[in-house]
Amino acid sequence: MKGLSPLCLLGALLVLLLGCQPHRPGGRLVVATSARVGSVDPVRASTFGATQLLSAVGDPLYRLAADGAVLPALAAELPRVSPDGLTVTIPLRRDVLFHDGTPFDAAAMVFSLERFLEIGTLSYLLNERLAAVRAAGPHLLELRLKRPTTVLPQLLSTINITPVSPRAYRDYGERALSDRFVGTGPYRLSFFSDQQQRLEPFDRYWGTPPRNDGIVLISLGNSTALYGAMRSGEVDVLLSTGLHEDHQQALQQQAGKGELREGLGPALEIGYLTLHTRQPPFNDPDLRQALAHSLDRERISERVSQGLRSPLRNLVPPAVSGAKRQIWPAYAPDKARRLFRQAGYCEGRQMELPLTFRSNIPSDRLMVLTWQAQLARDLGDCIVLQPNGMESTTVYRQLGEGAFPAVMLDWRGAVRDPEAYLFPLLSCSESVGDHCLQGESALSGSFWTAPGLQEDLLRSEGLVGSERLELLQAIERRTAAAAPYLPLWLVTPRAWAQRRLAPPRFDGNGRLLLQDLQLLP
């Protein structure tokens, strides 16, 4: 009987612990991601977690609908552009209050924009285009541009330029206010730590009020914890960022059975391979084509993500360009073999391809291993892939130094426009023939350009409408023919909610609409 005492004690403790489950108050919902938020100041926010939080506590001048349409938010209407394209006036809403009760006006917008331009981590997004900003009237904002900019409304939908209360940020003109936020959004930030943020509905919000009684955003450090928290009901809504593919697959299956509700956002993130075109072997365009033909995207996507990632043969995601046709060379092992043969491989000579991947990103590793097996099966006598894992920070540092013959990366445009996908990969300020010496193309590790390509990119900035889109599509087709990059797949943001909630919805920038989350009646 003596031995039972510790067991009884343990049992009592267990009952006590289980009985101590905290009650969940009213309609406050717990939303989980893997993203920790280091700073809630718009001038510092550059991570997914920070921008997701900001999108709930702040408003941009314009917002993007799920289909990418630009809609006024704090702006009263779309921008008015002068005939020379260099002056833009934006009428602002008059019924907006900051969370501290002060009114929002043009002066507050100027304060916030100038603060962002001065100390913003991502200020270069605007600095490249914006010459000056001023209040042309109490509720009229005027922007002077350095050059005509077609993507201005999309740029002004960036949550980083959400206005902040000049009164609350008076002492923070030159430094960040990381743990508080006073903006105009549908929620007030009532508690902030890097692992948890609490949002309360702002009862004087100018727009549609939130459909829930508040949100608690939490971050959990790994995929198993996130998945487990969703399964055990600890969290109400789970975002796919940071979730491993198998966990996403399991949640998708549960949603298919009606146990969870799934919401999908616009697929704006691409996965792609960069080939170093200034040095052998990929200075040979035929070998780049051969590699492009040897990539079985459907099979790889199926094996790596069980179809959650869509195979992609464009650099610009279809959700951005609206294009239906895929333009990169399709999987054709016969064509690949012919091209490898022409280059002197396959007949007793294998091409050794060192492929660098980011070892801290599980899908990269799976992709490389799957492709390695696929190549061994289809073209084993021509090419052998040598995986080379490296921590992502190291990869990024060495990319522009031309350290990698082939490397797997991903990219998400800063704005929802083809320009945001083509310029960062193709711009080149100094070149010799097809080789880029200075510029984005060199920084991205491909070092590829073509005569007249940079001029076409710059010319596209002065165009509008279909003429501009056609030029950008022509640039993309030209890139596809040279294949310095091999697009691989599209990543669709997803969210899952418990059954008692309505399906989650995303905005046009791929962020979850927290104010739309609601319990079903």
């Binding site: 692992q195 971050s219 450090g221 914890a225 487990g228 540092r397």
Partner: protein, 343 residues
């Protein structure tokens, strides 16, 4: 020289070495960070930022200055007790450490306490019949728990008790639905005080529920060290002359073990406890990551990934200082307690 004077000299020598060791560690981490590939500017701006923006940020962060100058600033600020600001959040490093160190200490000390109780109990249990079944089980337990891969054990425990059974939270330090208690940063203590003061025991329940899984997992992994240490030292003590002498005086076996063998066997365990505490302060990384426990090791891992130089340097210096402090304290304790120690 009297024992007291010798002890004082020993103490002074140990303490005099502390700043030298800290300087060496601080210099080493400064140098290693700069030699390691990767750039904090990339971590903040991403790889596609224009060169002008990168240069501006580099200048803003002081990374464009000569390395020697950066090192000089670092040491000067360190002497003033200023650990700088995080490159990413611009928060003072001391504040970040102040927030995450209590989390690590709370987890580490709770785990250590549980590990000591469990490990010593298992180690002691087999002593009545050496090489008996209980002794063998204790030996296997000691080896098995010591050899368990921490991340695997943590994940299995998490899957069973949090995901499948749903008894305890999957991760984090506090329930999402409650506001964390204010005070020292030690949630157990703060929520206990809040409960005693205002009768709100929900916070304490939440803090305990979140602590149980990571602390028990860590305790399980550490307990084997105590088991093995106690078993070996107790057996050695029981075979020693002074124990034989005690037995020959007709003392009962219980008295021989408890009064004569155990205190002597526990002295080496004290040293091991010191080493374990030291390694726990910065070493519970896998447990912290698996359970999303916002401790110092979790922070360090994140800061290394972001190449947040001041934060990494600050954490390493503070952890090193604590490790040195604990080691010196244990050395002194052992020296005071064990008359056989010569200086």
């Amino acid at each position: 020289m009297s024992r007291r004077r010798a002890l004082a000299r020993y103490l002074a020598a140990r303490l005099a070495l502390v700043p030298v060791m800290l300087l060496l560690i601080a210099s080493l981490v400064f140098l290693l960070l700069r030699v390691a590939p990767g750039d904090p500017v990339d971590a903040v701006l991403g790889t596609r930022a224009p060169e002008a923006a990168r240069a501006a940020l580099r200048s803003q962060l002081g990374l464009d200055q000569p390395l020697l100058l950066q090192y000089g600033h670092f040491l000067l600020n360190l002497l003033r007790g200023d650990l700088g600001e995080s490159l990413n959040s611009q928060e003072p490093v001391s504040r970040i450490i102040g927030q995450s160190l209590p989390a690590s200490l709370e987890l580490g000390l709770t785990a250590l306490l549980l590990a000591a109780v469990l490990g010593l109990a298992v180690g002691f249990s087999g002593i009545a019949r050496p090489e008996g079944k209980l002794d063998l089980a204790g030996r296997l337990y000691g080896i098995g728990t010591y050899a368990l891969p921490p991340f695997w054990a943590a994940m299995v425990v998490q899957l069973i008790f949090a995901v499948w059974l749903g008894w305890l939270p999957v991760g984090g330090r506090f329930p999402a639905t409650l506001l964390p208690p204010q005070g020292s940063g030690f949630y157990l203590l703060d929520s206990l005080l809040s409960g005693l003061g205002g009768g709100n025991w929900q916070q304490l329940g939440g803090a305990v529920r979140h602590l149980v899984l990571p602390a028990c997992t860590l305790a399980l992994l550490l307990s084997g060290i105590f088991t093995n240490a106690l078993r070996l030292n107790l057996r050695r003590a029981l075979a020693s002359d002074y124990v034989e002498a005690a037995r020959s005086r007709g003392l009962s076996e219980t008295r021989v073990v408890l009064r004569h063998a155990l205190p002597n066997a526990l002295l080496p365990v004290l040293t091991i406890t010191g080493i374990t505490v030291a390694s726990l302060i910065g070493g519970a990384l896998l447990i912290e990551v698996t359970y999303s426990w916002p401790g110092i090791a979790f922070r360090l891992q994140e800061a290394i990934g972001q190449r947040d130089y001041p934060l990494v340097q600050g954490i390493v210096v503070v952890v090193a200082a604590l490790v040195v402090l604990v080691s010196v304290t244990v050395d002194i304790l052992v020296a005071v307690l064990d008359p056989r120690i010569r200086f």
